[in-house]
């Protein structure tokens, strides 16, 4: 059985020292090992941006795709081979800016994919512009007078779109994060793990300390019920989206199990020859 070591490779990430993404990478590697996955049965599909590089830093199959499209590529991979553990990963700009449409529809579709977003509330790789999750009033390169737009709250959007598995982590709390990713991987359906992963270079507001002071950890609330959608939404609103832990989970049949005629054996392993009989039957319609 594979260990954490088997998911490591020789590449040194090009993240800044202290970047939150290091812990996210470690948590994914641990979670994969803990859930008994083998590197060759895992495909990590990432978008563009600092966090988008993550597919190259984990020893598994991986695609570093184009900006905002990781989820679309990931769904294609899953359709082709439903036995693969498919993880999509990227940042807040990638997933909730250019890729938001795909996110909403991935939620609606509910394929068995784990989506990990490294949310630092800023564009890092392009050197510090406002992101969809940057707060109202946030000052930086593209909003020198303060952001006049309001922030999108990923958990609220996800729950509003009808997601069936929703969790949020903080990169510093690697044990909780590992557990959340493990649960997301084991969940048979679309799962979002949004992770607060601070940008130490460009975001001087949402720092590690800022998150520590503002985050409400649901693990500390024994009365919190993650199976109640209305309560989950209330908690997100109450904490201004800054709650961590398992926020919501319900059982739902995954997309792959609802496709008419779809087989349990992955498509990639099936014979693609069209039988002479079926071909003849097809021609009849045009006679």
């Amino acid at each position: 059985m594979a260990t954490v070591k088997d998911f490591r490779n020789e590449v040194r990430p090009n993240w800044c020292p202290g970047c939150g993404d290091f812990s996210v990478q470690a948590a994914i590697q641990r979670a994969l090992a803990n859930t008994g996955r083998e590197p060759e049965n895992v495909a990590i599909i990432s978008g563009i941006g600092c966090s988008g590089r993550i597919s190259g830093y984990i020893h598994s199959y991986g695609v570093h795709a184009i900006h905002g499209r990781a989820l679309a590529v990931a769904q294609g991979v899953k359709l082709a081979n439903r036995d693969l553990t498919v993880i999509a990963a990227g940042g807040d700009g990638d997933g909730f800016g250019i890729g938001l449409n795909h996110f909403m529809h991935a939620v609606r579709r509910n394929m068995d994919i784990t989506y990990i977003v490294m949310d630092n509330q800023i564009y890092g790789l392009t050197k510090g512009q406002t992101s969809p999750t940057s707060a109202h009033g946030f000052k930086n390169k593209t909003t020198p007078e303060g952001n006049i737009e309001h922030a999108l709250t990923p958990t609220q959007v996800a729950l509003g779109a009808g997601i069936s598995f929703l969790a949020q982590g903080f990169s510093t709390d690697i044990n909780q994060l590992t557990r959340l990713i493990e649960e997301a991987i084991n969940y048979k359906g679309f799962a979002l793990v949004n992770v607060f992963s601070p940008c130490v270079t460009f975001n001087k507001v949402n720092t590690y300390d800022w998150y520590k002071q503002n985050i409400v950890n649901l693990d500390n609330d024994p009365d919190y019920d993650p199976t109640n959608r209305a309560a989950a939404m209330a908690k997100i609103v109450e904490t201004n989206g800054l709650c961590t832990g398992l926020i919501f989970k319900e059982e739902r049949v995954a997309y792959e199990d609802l496709i008419p005629g779809y087989k349990k054996e992955p498509l990639v392993h099936q014979d693609i020859t069209l039988s002479r009989e079926l071909f003849a039957e097809c021609l009849k319609e045009f006679a």
Binding site: H64, V73, G76, L79, T273
Partner: protein, 575 residues
Amino acid sequence: MLDQLSWKVGGQQGEGIDSTGEIFATALNRHGYFVYGYRHFSSRIKGGHTNYKIRVSTKPRPANADNLDMLIAFDQETIDFNAHELRPGGVIIADEKFNPVAPEGMTVRFFTVPLTKFAEEAGSAIMKNMVALGASACVLGLQPETFESLISDMFLRKGQKVVDSNMAAIRKGFQFMKENGGEIAEFRLKPGDGKQRLFMMGNDAIGLGALAAGARIMPAYPITPASDVMEYLIKKFPKVGGHVIQTEDEIAAITMAIGANYAGVRALTATSGPGLSLMMEAIGLAGMTETPVVIIDTQRGGPSTGMPTKHEQSDMYAVLFGTHGEIPKIVLAPATAEECFYMTIDAFNYAEKYQTPVILITDLALSLAKQTVEPLDYDRITINRGKLATEEQLAAIEPGKLFKRYAFTEDNISPRVFPGQKGGIHHVTGVEHTEVGRPTEDAAIRTKMMNKRLNKVRGEFPNSVSYTGAENPDLLVIGVGSTIGVIDEALERLTAEGKSVAHAHVRVLSPFPTETLQKYVDRAKKVLVVENNATGQLKHLMQFFDIKGEFLSQLKYDGNPYLPSEIYAHCKELI
């Protein structure tokens, strides 16, 4: 006796015009005629004039006829809008119900027939189209039984009574015409050869081709005139365990298709102009990551939203030069529905052989017009998955090491592996990369990788250009896509008049068949490039791809396909 004739039915959209045309065309196709059906429709669902023009011939004629022999009108607008196409002495069959008025100043045979009344007597007003078919049959010297097998196939599941009442409606129309001078000697159609052939549109042939090629996933976003491809496969894929997924947009469609191909399953998407534009960035990703993917582009009137239900051939620049940077691209351009089938299969084989995007480009007339197709040959279906890594190659890779997915090789094509295969782990990225897929900005590797990708596809593909006509013609006409039938027909008339003409039709736009076309161009005195766009794209491509010579241009971009007479007249002026 006629070798060929053209027949049209018109009315309001939603009134069953399509089905009337379909029944007429299919029945005659079954009797061994060559049939070509072109629908005129607008971007709306109900209401508005629509018509279905059908050409029936004793030899292949995949083109609209210059004029019209018979017009079936379900409303006055149909007469007002279409009568000008009728030849002198042509026939109009109009429903008595709307008190039809004959076109002014035209010598036509005008029949007012109680279509709706007879239909009601036979059981339901909706059968007025059957009455019209019976009336048509009488004029053409066909028996009502011509329609019997088709009516039976269509309605038997609803019961023999439904079949009988439809046949009764057909006979009523037939009888009425017979009693009212509808048997017109000069309208007698020569019998068909009785051979069983198919009747299908390009989009159906593409769908069937994809199925036969082993495609099993199709993510797509609906768009006219491409949607029929997905609609066809939605019906078929469940039988083979495949799946059509209707995506949120075209970008999701192409990227999902890339994901599926990356994971080892043949996947395609189909779109038209605006959707193709949205896909461009992802097509670059497929080129850079060397992922096979098949994209169908059914051209329509552009630019922007343009004319969604109208014909054009103006995406050639886009498919060849779209996407930023430089990637290899294969572009196939079938000319007939039959070629749509076989070339879709080729598209999948090329995509996997060369590990590149393959765009199969059609135009609205080819996508949506239905035409007679010789029976498709199961034994011509071949599946070639390209260069795949062997188990031995993978077993030799040490644990923890990466597979050289982008290995430099003699033919510039590297073996592929699919996720899930032990030993095959590597990284795929749209960023410039090393042999194992690691990002790199090393100048030497960059240059080598660019060369590797761009040199995968070399030389001309077989059958890139077809040639018919005189060896050393006074005039060579070059075309692409659905214009094949009209050009052939125009040149046939000129040949019959003793003119020296020839026709070269381009089937592959990339790799561009420069050498072959140059050979044909060199033999001709004059060269005319005929295409449906405003800027002469094919002509410019010939110049871009270094074909030496002077090229004349005939262009049409009003939304309609050429008529044979238009090309004939233009050519005649040139020789």
